[in-house]
Symmetry: C2
Subunit: 334 residues, 2 copies
């Protein structure tokens, strides 16, 4: 029952993020009346809505009803206040605005093997999942925010744990705003990093890098990783990239990375990599279902799959580095 | 992240129920290929779908990929095989066919205070949530199945725990198929029970009672609890009824129950009653949001609310009896 009705809790949190409730509460506790007024909520549901968030551990409350004061928890203040540097609500905004509806057609996706997102209604046989996103400034901003949020914890861990001592350059291919490059450059002053993504992303990434004060060691190059060579670097990272594509396209990306690396260089893939026995990482398996919903041929994969593809494309050894939650890094050395 | 993305796990289980997967597996384990063939699933998502259910603890698996055999767990065999007497998938079928989509508009419900289900599109200012359900044989069957499933555990506990020794008759008002009456009649051979529900339900309830072999002590009476008096009985039960209505309607139902009871008789309300401090029973609070989505004025309530309404309508004392999970019985004695 808890799993089956889980969309109730899910949608309650997603609505709170949509209303920017956790940002509203960043400066202190508020009464339900004030919240209702600022967000534009009707009296009827406001106590049930806020008290559900309390019961789910996403808000704190002193008092009850008219005397109640609602506050952020330590976690919601840190992760869900839009002004927090650790804001990870972007992925949840995208989940609310796009994925919740698309997942409503999961059965059709499972029966047909076809995506259930914008592609389904586009009438084009070749359009991919990114064409519509990259053509709409609003969707692009939301998507990049989502990608920044979902990986922040994993990127921080990777920047801490990976041994950068033998390397001096890193390219993050499909690097979005440059969140990983920023983490690595900040923690490793000897590293020079390159964000490589489509032309539409470049100005947004440059502005992000500048805000972080890292423009001297993080540069942004516009390009398509299917048609252009990757910038030569000691380390090539792809974060949540491989799972977007079918096996043939995945192998092409392995080869692109191989070509751009020196001997001893590392190709690092950061994703919700599925455990080899495919029975522990539920999030990774569902992310693969999400690729069914979102892409024409994408799927998530196990470390064994990564290892096989790495050896098939010339890499000499591989390593598996757990990062945060369901996310890990699969690393192939040239 | 787990709460916010919880709709993924939710929808995966709901799709499995929609495909009747757990009924298909009732006679033994099957390969993914056989499952795909019988359900009509495309190759692309079948392993991710089934392995997600394994990772969520909803299927067992030996082997992997082509060599894998998928089986029910003890719980899914008991609760989610449609042929099991304990089948509670009905509520999840309704969740999948109706609620998942309607909850997609939770924000609009919270902003307007208006229902987000069929009512929203009906153009009628007076139609209630049951008009469309009771006018469609298919929706009615689904709804009654849902009501039977959601309360089965609580009804079994109530039939075990409540002291029936001083009573000989019980009416379940809005009793749907008669699941509660059947539990009570089976466990207490001295009890005579009446299922009271709208005329459209009567033949379905009679057939259910007959299947249970209890027609001698469970009868079915057709009537509308707002316009007809309730049948006189020692115990009047309402299971998931009060929460459908606004406060004035709730008080009317208390008065109807009071009138139908003898001195010492018991009015029993079985619902996901919210803890008085409104911070523990998340399911009850979300059920109240569900009433926002589904009804014009309904809401769930605390035991303190129940106690206040009971005294307001003449009852002399109240009791609170925890049943199963988030569900409890609030009892008012005349």
């Amino acid at each position: 029952m808890q799993i089956g009705m889980g969309f109730w809790a899910s949608k309650t949190l997603l609505a709170a993020i949509q209303f920017d409730l956790f940002t509203l509460l960043a400066h202190g506790g508020l009464s339900a009346t004030t919240i209702a007024q600022k967000v534009g909520l009707h009296d009827r549901g406001v106590y049930d809505f806020l008290d559900t968030l309390v019961a789910l551990g996403l808000l704190q409350r002193e008092g009850i009803y008219e005397s109640a004061v609602y506050r952020n928890t330590a976690d919601t203040a840190f992760f869900l206040d839009r002004k927090s540097p650790a804001y990870l609500g972007g992925i949840l905004e995208m989940a609310n605005n796009r994925l919740y509806r698309f997942w409503g057609d999961l059965e059709e996706g499972l029966k047909t093997g076809h995506p259930q997102n914008e592609i389904k209604y586009s009438g084009s046989a070749t359009e991919n999942q990114f064409d519509q996103i990259y053509n709409s400034p609003e969707k692009l901003r939301e998507f990049l925010g989502a990608m920044t949020g979902i990986q922040l914890g994993a990127f921080m861990r990777f920047a801490d744990q990976f041994d950068f001592s033998g390397y001096s350059t890193l390219t993050d291919a499909g690097g979005a705003l440059g969140s990983l490059c920023a983490q690595v450059a900040r923690k490793h002053p000897h590293m020079h990093c390159t964000v490589f993504d489509l032309a539409a992303v470049k100005p947004l990434a440059e502005s992000f890098v500048q805000q972080q004060g890292l423009s001297d060691r993080v540069n942004v190059i516009a390009g398509d990783f299917f048609t252009a060579p990757l910038p030569s670097s000691d380390v090539i990272v792809m974060g949540n990239i491989l799972h977007d594509w079918d096996e043939e396209e995945k192998l092409l990306l392995f080869r692109k990375a191989y070509e751009a690396l020196p001997a001893g260089g590392a190709f690092v893939c950061i994703e919700a990599i599925i455990d080899n026995d495919r029975r522990a990482n539920a999030f990774g398996l569902m992310m693969s279902l999400n690729m069914l919903i979102e892409t024409r041929g994408g799927f998530d994969f196990t470390f064994n799959d990564f290892d096989r593809w790495a050896h098939q494309t010339g890499f000499t050894k591989t390593e598996w580095m757990p990062l945060a939650g369901p996310t890990s890094a699969a690393i192939a050395f040239k």
